[in-house]
């Protein structure tokens, strides 16, 4: 991918980001005023008004917007009401956790799905295929939060081999990763299996057989690379979703990631946090998309034409 192409995309993404942030600005403000949440119920009206003035919420929305836009341009995302700290600091603490969690779960899911999906496709119609099909459908259909709760019940509360929740060493990652793994895994197996079956029936695979290639070579050299594209696309989409946080799963496990931060931010009307998170997530998604495109081009030369 050429540099100018990258710049063009970046410019386009910046425009989209501006639109996104603007809509986010108005949307969060429409969710209501944080003042009541941040003052004791017994606080006086004067105190409430004072806080509104302090936060600039007394001014008309267009003025607030201009102010905010100015801050944004100087990359000032404001101070978190709840954390009493610069919002971007808080976001940047949470983001790596989420990214690590998503990356681990997705990588595992992708690798496992490619292997298992390929095996199923090679044995299409056989009992292995059917077993894989049922298993992956189940994995694709399981609500992640429920899986999390049941995992806690079984492994933490009953068997006591894993911690219930929290954040720390590798052992704390097992259950959250497992929960986030399930659905991508199920979906990807289905996709790999489908595109592998298609690839295995493609004429070029028949060519490879006619050339005398044995089944391992046919499957993993000729068919797989062609079958990978849809899986990469879906993984990219999933990665973009995960960048927004493992949402519910993070809540279940009290995992300090961006998803939990966002949900808390909205519950607590912490505008700065919400906006900073959206910004950070959008930037991450931009890079994920670039990465996916690069992967795409390296897998399929037909995509290289800009």
């Amino acid at each position: 991918m050429s540099f100018t192409f990258f710049l063009k995309r970046a410019a386009f993404a910046a425009l989209a980001l501006a639109a996104l942030m603007t809509s986010a600005f108005f949307l969060v403000r429409l969710t209501g005023d944080p003042v009541n949440l941040y003052l004791p119920v017994d606080a006086s009206d004067a105190a409430r008004e004072a806080m509104r003035v302090r936060l600039g919420l007394d001014r008309s929305l267009p003025w607030q917007f201009l102010d905010w836009a100015g801050d944004m341009l100087s990359l000032d995302f404001g101070t978190s009401l709840w954390h009493n700290r610069p919002a971007m600091d808080v976001v940047l603490e949470a983001l790596p956790n989420t990214l690590a969690l998503g990356a681990i779960a997705l990588t595992l899911a992708f690798v496992a799905a490619v292997i298992i999906g390929s095996i199923a496709a090679v044995n299409a119609g056989g009992w292995i295929d059917r077993a894989v099909n049922v298993l992956s459908q189940a994995a694709a259909s399981v609500p992640d939060f429920w899986l999390g709760l049941m995992g806690v019940l079984l492994f933490a509360v009953t068997l006591r081999i894993l911690p219930t929740s929290g954040f720390g060493g590798p052992i704390y990652w097992v259950l959250p990763v497992a929960c986030l793994f399930a659905r991508p895994f199920g979906t990807l197996v289905q996709i790999v299996r489908g595109s592998m079956i298609e690839a295995l029936n493609a004429t070029f695979v028949r060519t490879a057989r006619a050339k005398g290639a044995r089944s391992g070579r046919v499957t993993f050299v000729h068919a797989l690379r062609n079958a990978l594209l849809p899986a990469v696309t879906v993984t990219g989409d999933l990665a973009a979703q995960f960048a927004g946080g493992g949402g519910v799963v993070e809540v279940v496990f009290g995992f300090p990631g961006i998803g939990k931060l966002l949900i808390d931010g909205i519950l607590k009307r912490d505008f700065a946090i919400v906006q900073a998170s959206i910004f950070a997530v959008a930037v991450v998604i931009f890079f994920i998309n670039i990465l996916v495109d690069m992967l795409y081009a390296s897998i399929d030369p037909r995509v290289r034409v800009e």
Partner: protein, 481 residues
């Protein structure tokens, strides 16, 4: 945890919002700070609510508007600054600084101007602009932080005089405390304490079971059934606030019927913990001004029906839909309790609909101003009174000007105003009268229970939570067996 028996892990519901000593009105903050990191001039006795010395050794009322405090002289803050009268002056000033919007200033100290003067390093005068008969009680909520605490924003690294100092606050994960070597009082048995937070009661309970934590607070009743679970009254009273201005709820018979329709005995021991006390008024018995003579409501759906019928005969629109506004997670099982109550009201002939709200919209319903055209409603709420005096409960909720008050009754207004200014037995009598008036004449609440909190304590730890455990973890009183 057993290996490092000088370390204790406590699990609470939420991460503290700040660790600023002037925010100790938030229980999440004060649990970590109060009497662990920072201390106040006086403490309230958990037994009877009486005042006991803390950083102040003695106090007296000099005149109507002036109190004098004698301070300890052997105390230093965690940051090495000496504790003296000027530190108290600074802390009090900081707590009332409108720019900081301290919780203590906005709630406990609200409406009164406190001016402190240094007499000498161990003597302090506090003057008020109006009569403040319970000034020492209020001072029990004002934690004294080091004079070096910055004034331009809330602090995340408090320095106090308490037995523990802050070791680390890892946002999103934990707050770590370590025993302070220079503490003026007895050395605590536990050297290191870690406070972590989990939103789910079941998880918190499980963590003590699995050894991930030694103390877990706010266990839901269904989990709080083992030997390790201790229930303690937490100074909260749950109730339903009736919006008595909107028909049909403006008819007293209808409001009485609401009270009669609820089977409090059925709720206790199931949805509410069995140690919860049926309430007749808005404050628990430990509060100064509590009226023990108010009769409790008995469950009598038949009578409720007949009251409704009578009201209906007089043209009261009793069939109008009444909304029950609940708040998600206000206490354990809060929505179950309202589902049950809604069913009970329906059985008694009410047309009630339940609406569960998240905190922010719920606050909109709780606080004035309200829409003129609003639907008749009752609102789930709970009132806490840790300061131990009725004045912290009544004016805002039951006077015409109160920002959460659904009642506008001149007689009650004067009663409460007089009581607030009075002292001693007079004060007590007037407050009792006010509570009785609310419960029997005004009937604008459906009192439910004086609530309990359940804490789960690991078997190898000695700790018995008391009535103040909702707001403090007295770490220095805890030890391993």
């Amino acid at each position: 945890a057993d290996a490092a028996s000088d370390t204790l892990t406590v699990v609470v519901t939420d991460e503290p919002k700040s660790l600023d000593p002037c925010d100790t009105d938030l229980s999440g903050n004060s649990r970590i700070l109060h009497n662990n990191i920072t201390e106040a001039l006086v403490n309230l006795s958990p037994a009877d609510g009486s005042l006991v010395p803390s950083l102040a050794t003695g106090w007296r009322q000099v005149d109507e508007l002036t109190w004098e405090f004698k301070l300890r002289d052997d105390v230093t803050f965690h940051d090495g600054k000496a504790f003296d009268a000027s530190a108290v002056v600074a802390a009090l000033k900081r707590a009332q600084d409108p720019a900081l919007a301290c919780e203590v200033g906005l709630a406990t100290l609200k409406g009164v101007k406190f001016n402190a003067e240094v007499v000498n390093p161990t003597t302090l005068l506090i003057k008020t602009d109006i009569v403040e008969p319970i000034l020492p009680n209020k001072m029990s909520a004002v934690d004294i932080s080091s004079p070096a605490t910055p004034n331009d924003g809330k602090s995340r690294s408090p320095a106090g005089t308490g037995p523990y100092k802050l070791a680390a606050w890892t946002p999103g994960q934990s707050v770590d405390l370590v025993a302070y070597d220079g503490y003026w009082g007895d050395r605590p048995a536990i050297k290191n304490a870690t406070i972590i937070w989990r939103a789910e009661s079941a998880v918190r309970a499980a963590m003590v079971a699995t050894g991930e934590a030694q103390i877990a607070y706010e266990i839901a009743p269904q989990d709080g059934t083992t030997e390790q679970d201790h229930a303690f009254p937490n100074a909260e009273t749950s109730l339903l606030r009736i919006d008595a201005e909107i028909p049909p709820l403006n008819d007293k018979r209808v409001r009485e019927a609401l009270n009669l329709a609820i089977d409090r005995d059925g709720l206790v021991g199931t949805i509410f913990h069995q140690d919860a006390q049926k309430a007749m008024q808005a404050v628990p018995p430990s509060v100064f001004g509590f009226n023990p003579d108010i009769p409790g409501w008995t469950y009598d759906p038949e009578k409720a029906k007949s009251l409704l019928a009578a009201a209906k005969a007089d043209g009261v629109p009793v069939d109008k839909e009444i909304v029950i506004y609940g708040r998600i997670g206000i206490y354990p099982n809060s929505s179950e309790s309202l589902e049950a109550i809604q069913a009970m009201l329906a059985d008694a002939g009410f047309n009630a609909r339940l609406e569960m709200l998240e905190t922010s919209p719920w606050l909109k319903k709780l606080l004035k101003p309200w829409d003129k055209e609003r639907q008749p409603s009752i609102l789930q709420t709970q009132i806490d009174n840790t300061e131990g005096d009725a004045v912290f409960t009544l004016p805002n909720r039951f006077t015409t000007d109160g920002n959460q008050s659904t009642i506008a009754d001149a007689k009650l207004d004067t009663l409460i105003a007089d009581a607030s200014k009075a002292t001693g037995d007079e004060r007590k009598k007037l407050f009792e009268e006010a509570f009785s008036y609310i419960a029997i004449d005004a009937v604008n609440i459906v009192p439910l229970f004086h609530m309990v909190t359940i804490a789960r304590v690991a078997e190898n730890v000695t700790y018995t939570p008391d009535v103040q455990a909702g707001n403090e973890i007295k770490l220095k009183s805890i030890s391993y067996r």
